[in-house]
Symmetry: C2
Subunit: 259 residues, 2 copies
DNA sequence: CGCTGTGAACGCGTTCACAGCA
DNA sequence: TGCTGTGAACGCGTTCACAGCG
């Protein structure tokens, strides 16, 4: 019950993000109710999976009824930590960093860019989105003055580790790494095990180039793709209710594909 | 040997990309040999894992010796399909699409952008990186004239499904989706079961916003992070001081409360 | 009854121990 | 001797069947 202090599959967290996204979409369409089956279909997983994933964090539904969209959405936002504001700095304000800073949708979710940092003199001092680009060396003092929760790494891969170190040394505990490199969660030189500040740090990767290569592989080897069609809930005589609203896809069914 | 038509964990494919990246880095440093232990450390997995992953695809090492960097690199490129050229079109040439088109590193790996497409009249006709932006409606005829292997989706999320459909209808079998949406691998309206062209399509996602949210979650709940410290290969002779294994459980994980 | 919530079974991916070969 | 390659064990995440409650 509740969040047992451990063992939540990382895949479950990713799926939670997906469910949240679906709920937002449903809310925009003024759909007020949903079910594990409906969510499953939209998320391309099984209904079992949906219920299990939600069960890791609480009990959000009503038996016999399903889930209330705004309520479940609010709960998932809370679980994911999206009911607070996250102050973010971006390291690296090249093309990628600027694209990130300008990407719509981020601010929707309580992510606030509070600082932009770079080492390139051509960039430092510029104004982007109303934020002055500062020198990376000033991150430490900046972070002492302004609370910074997360750092986005958008520097060239050869500088990623050093930039990450700068973030961590400034006390930042969450790093979103866009560089095509593995960030070593430790101070690299020697194993300086000085009460490692890295032990508290979470790193997530957003890896465009890796995505390209995975795609190349699976496009070349379609037979090795994970079969994405999961079996539906096997209910005899299933009627599918709800969907009070118009214009939805009332179709049914077991989309079955096989090979 | 070689790619037997079997079950290869998707995670293994991702790790292969990582190994390849490490090998490239080693080659740049003129390191000619490596080992499963070395790769494991750099990739942050176990040596067992490295050997098993490689074993899915062949035998690339020499017992007692390890792996030859250029050789293993070449083999992994072959396995991943990176020893050929992939012709790529980009759908959506807004800020994100342009950032992708200009991102360095892509062309290194035999990915060639051959077409840019959009529906925005302000963008269509522009020249980007020497490529004229065409209207999305022209993709079909374009693809008939020029072989296109992959399509990168960089359109706003509400247009992602339709744009994906355009790609697939043009005969493209691989889609890299940058939009924060799930692409339904089927023609959405009704179940038009016309020998579903989608069945042959691979979709990979690169999801910036999802990464942000996962990061928020794990930064909020550090104790739920997947423990990234894997046991090393038990080396003879090497004494490994048992890490204090600092009590990593406590603190706020309970997202309960409140309601 | 309908759909959620959940302990238990299952199967897959990771881990392991060791066989095999330079 | 050293490190790879691999069948087998293990454990975790997914799947399942059904209990629980509207």
């Amino acid at each position: 019950m509740s969040v047992s202090s451990q063992d939540i599959p990382t895949a479950a967290v990713s799926r939670l993000v997906t469910y949240l996204r679906i709920l937002e979409s449903l809310e925009l369409q003024d759909v007020s109710r949903t079910s594990s089956n409906d969510l499953a279909e939209r998320a391309q997983v099984t209904a079992f999976q949906v219920r299990k994933d939600l069960a890791y964090f609480g009990r959000f539904g009503t038996r016999g009824m399903g889930y209330t969209v705004p309520l479940l959405k609010r709960e998932l936002m809370r679980v994911l930590g999206l009911n607070r504001t996250w102050n973010v700095v971006i390291m690296g304000v090249g093309r990628l960093g600027q694209a990130i800073a300008n990407y719509p949708g981020a601010s929707d979710y309580q992510f606030a860019y509070v600082g932009l940092f770079d080492v390139n003199p051509d960039v430092v001092g510029q104004d982007i989105r109303g934020l002055r680009v500062r020198h990376a060396d000033d991150l430490g003092s900046f972070a002492r003055a302004t609370p910074v929760d997360l750092g986005f790494l958008a520097v060239p891969p050869e500088h990623a580790q050093a930039a990450a170190q700068t973030l961590v040394s400034a006390g930042i505990r969450g790093v979103l790494n866009f560089a095509p490199t593995i960030i070593q969660p430790r101070t690299v030189p020697g194993s300086s095990d000085v009460a490692d500040e890295w032990k508290q740090v979470s790193v997530e990767n957003v890896d465009f180039l890796a995505g390209m290569k995975r795609l190349a592989f699976y496009t070349l080897n379609p037979s090795l793709r994970p079969s994405e069609l999961k079996p539906s809930e096997p209910k005899p005589g299933e009627l599918r209710p709800s969907d009070p609203q118009a214009g939805n896809s009332p179709d049914l069914a077991n989309t079955d594909v096989e090979e």
